[in-house]
Symmetry: none
Subunit: 402 residues, 2 copies
């Protein structure tokens, strides 16, 4: 399903590739500042990469489309983000390293508060702490009796978010989400969106009724809202598609999950960017593709904090020499999407990218910034083409046709 | 058929969008003049849009493809121009506001002159006037007897051009055009291009024989040539796809027809661009998408009159302040294709575009012209992606995936 004709061009190579992904990197000017966050940041090392490498702008999904981080990361790794647009439940399960089977239906839960008439009063149950979440998952696992032939599993994610897995035969993912999206309304029913999902919908209705009883005495988290339904989905691993031995250095569960789904080895979580780079240095001899994920650029963008996002970019820049010291054959620095502080959210604006390798043709980009990337040799490109170009610069692709 | 996965991302919004389309806008230098028509024109208001907005170059169909205005307009409105490449007969019928049914086969007629041996001597019947055309259509409607169970309708377009509609069961559009394309040859037969079209071909042959008899005493228009066969085709309206309430301000029948096919309300015809802008101002509270069509840029290009096309562009520029005074959330100014005066015809050159909105990332375009658009933040883009980008800037699209 994920395989493409160009995969057949892959040839063996010792070349090493690094994808340094600054989540939400792309930006916009804000409050009269002339440049974007990246253009405002002082980034001598990234600028040197831009001068010696090749720059461009990437559309994660398509022009005008604002992506979630999930599909954008599939695009970064060369997997069509529309064909591979799986539900968030699967990404959560992979992120928690849940042992999946093909009979599983994965769902995300938000614990919520409902009043005596069953109306949602807090869609996040007052953001209960993670320990409470763990206690609730144990309580549900003990209290709920699924239908015969079916198993149910609960796993804590963080705060009010958890994963539910229903394991049985003929389960379907075409089910309506139950979050009413605003308070004052009762949860929606997990309705079947196609006739074939009626049996699954019945099981989920029963499961929610049982959960209501089990959680009835909870002061805050007395209800569950379901979303992100996803059946099991196999992705052709990066080793098979690209002949790579990939390592993911990422701490957030979703990125760890995507990495696992694509067959990457996932490094133990780290706390700081400095630790991520140290992990890269230590693991350098053992892999040939390294995905290094940087979260703060996105978080500060989501906060609407222009200056803090600038600082987060400068922190990354300062560590670039430790990456270049490893002499990767191909070093790509980009984001998965734009998160302009001016919008305090993901956006559709294309994402700046720099690719550094010995085989780069000179372009007119002098600094690493959105404006200079307009003159970059990669041009404006679909994000899912990036992996092909990176493999080419790594000498990992042979000629197409005679 | 026209619906796409991104349509599911559409969310409600009050934002207002204007698409100001200068037909045939793109150009070429001519006679030693250094710039294109757009670059030669003095356009302070368009240049201001370019500085504050985002520019680019659009490929209407694909690089190297010269489009007709029909498919190019489908692309402008986000409808795939290849999938939706319907016959000109349907566009004519829509332009004339002909009451269509699903049993209809639409065709365009050119009245022509044939000599006593049946050879075409004038493919446009000396460009007979529109009144003569109307008289001929009445004469044909009275004189022709279609096969049992079939009806036939004639409607005047302009000069030598008319619409014929055959209404019946199992009619097919896979029929050869009958215009021999040069004089001295007899009209071609309306041959079936697939076996299933044999019945329709027989009916058309009979209809043409009857027309020859009815028109035998006409001095000029004594024959009909058929082309642009098209069955009825339903387009998913812009209201359903994009949640828009669209108004078309366009005077030429084909553009009015396309607008109707896509579910736009079509404003009464106007005579001048000034009247079009006045119509926009009056209708402003009642719609949220406005298509304003400007024809003279294309007509002067087709005339090969560089200076007159420059003047037509300057006339549009002078009216831009009346549009910006309405404070549209998104203002797009572009063309449907290029019509360089140097070629006196449509061409394949990509079309300059400027998009103005609060969420534009600065680019390096300082003036609105083809050269500056090379440095525009929209890059070089498929024209059918323009609507998605405009919807994004209008805040009318939610995120794709989690």
């Amino acid at each position: 399903m994920s395989s493409q004709w160009m995969d057949k061009l892959v040839i063996p190579s010792q070349a090493k590739m690094v994808f340094l992904i600054m989540d939400g990197l792309g930006g916009l000017p804000m409050e009269g500042k002339p440049g974007t966050e990246l253009e405002t940041a002082i980034t001598p090392h990234l600028d040197a990469l831009a001068r010696g490498g090749v720059c461009g702008l990437l559309d994660p999904i398509a022009p005008g489309i604002t992506p979630g981080s999930g599909p954008a990361h599939f695009a970064l790794f060369g997997y069509d983000p529309v064909d591979n647009n799986v539900g968030r439940g699967l990404l959560s399960a992979a992120g928690l390293d849940f042992p999946m089977t093909e009979r599983d239906l994965f769902m995300r839960v938000n614990f919520a508060t409902v009043d005596s008439e069953g109306r949602v009063t807090d869609r996040r149950a007052g953001r209960i702490d993670t320990e409470t979440n763990e206690r609730l998952c144990r309580k549900l696992a003990e209290g709920i009796r699924p239908a015969s032939g079916t198993e149910v599993f609960f796993a804590t994610e963080k705060e009010h978010r958890a994963l539910i897995v229903l394991r049985g035969d003929n389960l379907r993912e075409e089910i309506a989400e139950t979050d009413p999206q605003k308070t004052g309304l009762p949860p929606l029913s997990p309705k079947a969106l196609i006739p074939e999902a009626a049996g699954t919908a019945n099981q989920l209705t029963d499961l929610l009724n049982q959960a209501r009883t089990v959680l009835a005495d909870e002061p805050k988290a007395n209800m569950m809202l379901l979303r992100g339904y996803s059946r099991y989905h196999r992705f052709e691993p990066m080793s098979e598609r690209f002949g790579l031995s990939p390592l993911a250095i990422a701490s957030y569960p979703m990125y760890r999950g995507i990495s696992r789904l694509l067959g990457m080895t996932v490094h133990a979580p780290t706390s700081t960017l400095e630790e991520e780079i140290a992990a890269l240095e230590t693991a350098w001899p053992d892999y040939d593709f390294f995905f290094v994920h940087v979260k703060p650029t996105d978080s500060r963008g989501e906060d609407g904090d222009f200056d803090a996002k600038v600082k987060a970019i400068e922190t990354v820049d300062a560590l670039i020499p430790r990456i270049t010291a490893l002499s990767p054959d191909v070093l790509v620095v980009t984001g998965d999407h734009s998160t302009p502080a001016a919008l305090a959210s993901h956006s559709w604006h294309p994402v700046p990218v720099v690719l550094s390798a010995k085989t780069c043709r000179p372009d007119r980009a002098e600094r690493f910034g959105e404006g200079d990337c307009l003159f970059g040799g990669l041009g404006r490109m679909s994000m899912s083409s990036l992996m092909t170009v990176a493999l080419a610069h790594a000498g990992r692709l042979t000629k197409f046709g005679a």
